[in-house]
């Protein structure tokens, strides 16, 4: 795995994308720092971090777009996939390389609050909380970018799709407000989810009975709960959207509050997408 990690890190700095990533991240964070903290004489660096979440649109795609797309285009994927390395070593190796570069950028931005610290007391817990949140979100988005990169051999498509996916996570919060909250729509929502889950199971195992059983079971349970206690279903759709909204959780952290549930959510995200990526590659080769 170390071979893959070092190769990826090398490539970041021979193909410019590593420099572009570092320059963009550090420069724009510095800009926000100057406007929000220095000009306003404010110690609240966590406001800077909240504002630069907008950066994820640009920096995550530059980091992840080429990871797999480039290998396929150059046909070097044939070397990797016919080598004795297990697939998950390749995927995790690439993820760690991208994550390492992201952490380097984060380490540099930590200079800004340190500079401020010379001139007064900082809201320590808020800043640490914001950093933890920001880094975890970044690591999660990198895994999404990695996953999208494996789906296409075109870097531009990978970049645009990744930016789009990140944009949708931004929107989840506002979408939640506009969703119907009554019990009947919630039931329909759950039925659709059950069907999708059944379809996914069928698609990944090619076991039609398993898929049907899962879907029917899901629908049956949803309907049963609806008949017993429909009140339970009030506000379920907006709740689900908010649950998946990455940034709703981030707000807790910038207030200096760390919920275990939030941390678990953020850590699950990369594990889930790395698992999906490995599966997509394996499936392409063994079906």
């Amino acid at each position: 795995m170390t071979a893959i990690i070092s190769k990826e890190l090398r490539t970041y700095f021979t193909q410019m994308s590593g420099y572009i990533f570092l320059a963009l991240t550090i420069f724009i964070t510095a800009l926000f720092y100057v406007f929000i903290n220095v000009f306003q004489l404010s110690p609240n660096f966590h406001f800077v971090l909240s504002n630069v979440t907008i950066l994820f649109f640009i920096i995550i795609p530059t980091l992840t777009m080429r990871l797999f797309a480039d290998e396929v285009r150059n046909k070097t994927d044939q070397l990797l996939y016919t080598s004795p390395l297990p697939i998950w070593h390749i995927v995790v190796g690439k993820y760690i390389a991208a994550a390492a570069l992201f952490m380097i950028a984060m380490a540099v931005t930590m200079l800004f609050p340190l500079i401020s610290a010379n001139f007064g007391t900082l809201p320590f817990s808020q800043i640490v909380g914001a950093y933890i949140g920001y880094i975890l979100i970044g690591l999660g988005f990198i895994s999404i970018g990695l996953f999208i990169s494996v789906m296409t051999e075109n870097q531009i498509i990978a970049a645009v799709a990744t930016a789009g996916a990140i944009f949708i996570t931004f929107l989840l919060e506002s979408l939640a407000a506009g969703m119907p909250a009554d019990a009947t729509s919630s039931l329909v929502f759950l039925i659709v989810c059950s069907l999708i889950l059944g379809g996914v199971l069928y698609n990944s195992t090619k076991n039609i009975y398993g898929g049907i059983i899962l879907a029917v079971l899901g629908i049956a349970v949803s309907v049963a709960f609806y008949l017993v206690n429909p009140l339970m279903y009030d506000g379920l759709i907006p709740g689900a959207f908010r649950w998946f909204s990455v940034f709703t959780r981030f707000d807790n952290m910038t207030n200096g509050v760390l919920h275990l549930a939030d941390i678990v959510f953020y850590i699950t995200m990369p594990i889930f997408f790395i698992y999906l990526t490995v599966n997509v590659i394996e499936k392409r080769r063994w079906k």
Partner: protein
């Protein structure tokens, strides 16, 4: 070393491989031969575990490539159609990376890479960026990559495509050297190439194996053995009269005149009797100069065209079909090629017969050609 059983691959409706089975012995050099789209690359990609088969299994040294991919792949070096090189790496960096992912112990790496570079003659390129190398050198770096870790089995997909004649000869040399230590499978759509290096040729077309044998035996299976084409300076009547007294020559067929004041004759002896001496003495006693005398054995190109053509026309396969005499068709075939460059053709036939005894000679011949 490798065993392929009932391999089938479907791309949607298209049947790329149709129930292919074969095995390769240790130390054998096997050549896949077939026109474009025959299924050579698909077979190789499945054998190396790059893509999956729809049905069937591949065992590398007894290890199933699907069930235990890591163990099976550790025994394979693969050079795909496009050499899988990273343009922004230097040759040394690249080979070190390959050694790392192939789990070569770091103590052995330096020595192994130096050896491989010497074998593929890329030592001078060690510090060059791969993207700045010519196609031929990229191909050699790709070949070096396949050799890293000295896998037991080396699979190469069209290793000489896009190279100049000198590089092709060098490449063949490397493959021959490889064949001494490793089992080698290579593919090509060029007959000569396969004949020059391979112990065994497998002709594939439309996802089926049409024939599998040594290049020599493939040639004799289809040849007419004792039929000679002779060009004689003189008149047809005179020649016919001269031949009458020689009973060894059973069948005389005048083809016509291709050069001024000459006649082309096809002569056939009885039951594999060598008639060349008879022809010589017959013509010399009658003062009829022989300008050309050549065997009507088919060159490998013709065999190839015939086998693949057959499968397209009739949909029949197998060597059984080939060993049946097909005099009429053969005669037609050779007649057609006659129109093209004769010297080239006779050289090819020569090559094939000499190949077994003296490979080096062939090389020199090609170089001069």
């Amino acid at each position: 070393m490798i065993e392929v059983k009932n391999l089938t691959k479907r791309y949607g409706q298209h049947l790329a491989l149709d129930n292919i089975s074969f095995s390769v012995a240790d130390g054998e050099i096997l050549g896949f031969l077939g026109p474009n789209g025959a299924g050579k690359t698909t077979t190789m990609n499945i054998m190396t575990g790059y893509i999956a088969s729809t049905e069937g299994e591949v065992l590398i040294g007894g290890v199933d490539i699907v069930a235990e991919p890591e163990r099976a792949k550790a025994q394979i070096g693969y050079l795909p159609e496009t050499p899988p090189v990273y343009g922004d790496m230097r040759v040394d960096e690249y080979l070190n990376f390959v050694a790392a992912i192939k789990k070569v112990k770091s103590a052995q790496r330096r020595e192994m890479i130096a050896e491989i570079k010497a074998l593929t003659r890329i030592e001078d390129m060690s510090r060059r960026l791969i993207k700045n190398l010519s196609k031929g050198y990229k191909q050699r770096v790709g070949m070096a990559q396949a050799m890293v870790g000295y896998p037991k089995l080396i699979i190469m997909d069209e290793p000489t495509v896009g190279l100049d004649p000198k590089q092709i000869i060098e490449m063949r040399d490397v493959i021959r050297k490889l064949g001494k230590k490793h089992t080698v499978i290579l593919s090509s759509h060029i007959m000569q190439e396969v004949a020059a290096v391979c112990d065994r040729v497998m002709i594939i077309n439309r996802g089926k194996i049409l024939a599998s044998d040594t290049p020599e035996r493939l040639a004799t299976a289809l040849s007419q053995g004792n039929t000679m084409l002779v060009r004689i300076k003189g008149e047809q009547d005179k020649i016919a009269a001269a031949l009458e007294s020689y009973t060894v020559i059973k069948d005389v067929k005048f083809i016509g005149s291709r050069e001024p004041s000459t006649v082309d004759v096809e002569l056939q002896g009885e039951n594999n009797v060598d008639i060349r001496e008879a022809i010589f003495s017959c013509m010399s006693t009658n003062n009829l100069p022989i300008l050309m005398l050549k065997s009507l054995d088919l060159s490998l190109e013709e065999i190839f065209l015939q086998i693949t053509g057959q499968s397209q026309n009739e949909g029949t396969t197998g060597l059984g079909q080939l060993s049946e005499p097909q005099t009429g068709e053969n005669a037609e075939n050779s007649d057609e090629t006659e129109n093209s460059d004769e010297t080239e053709k006779s050289q090819k036939t020569d090559e094939k017969s000499q190949k077994a005894e003296n490979v080096e000679n062939v090389e020199k011949k090609e170089e001069t050609a």
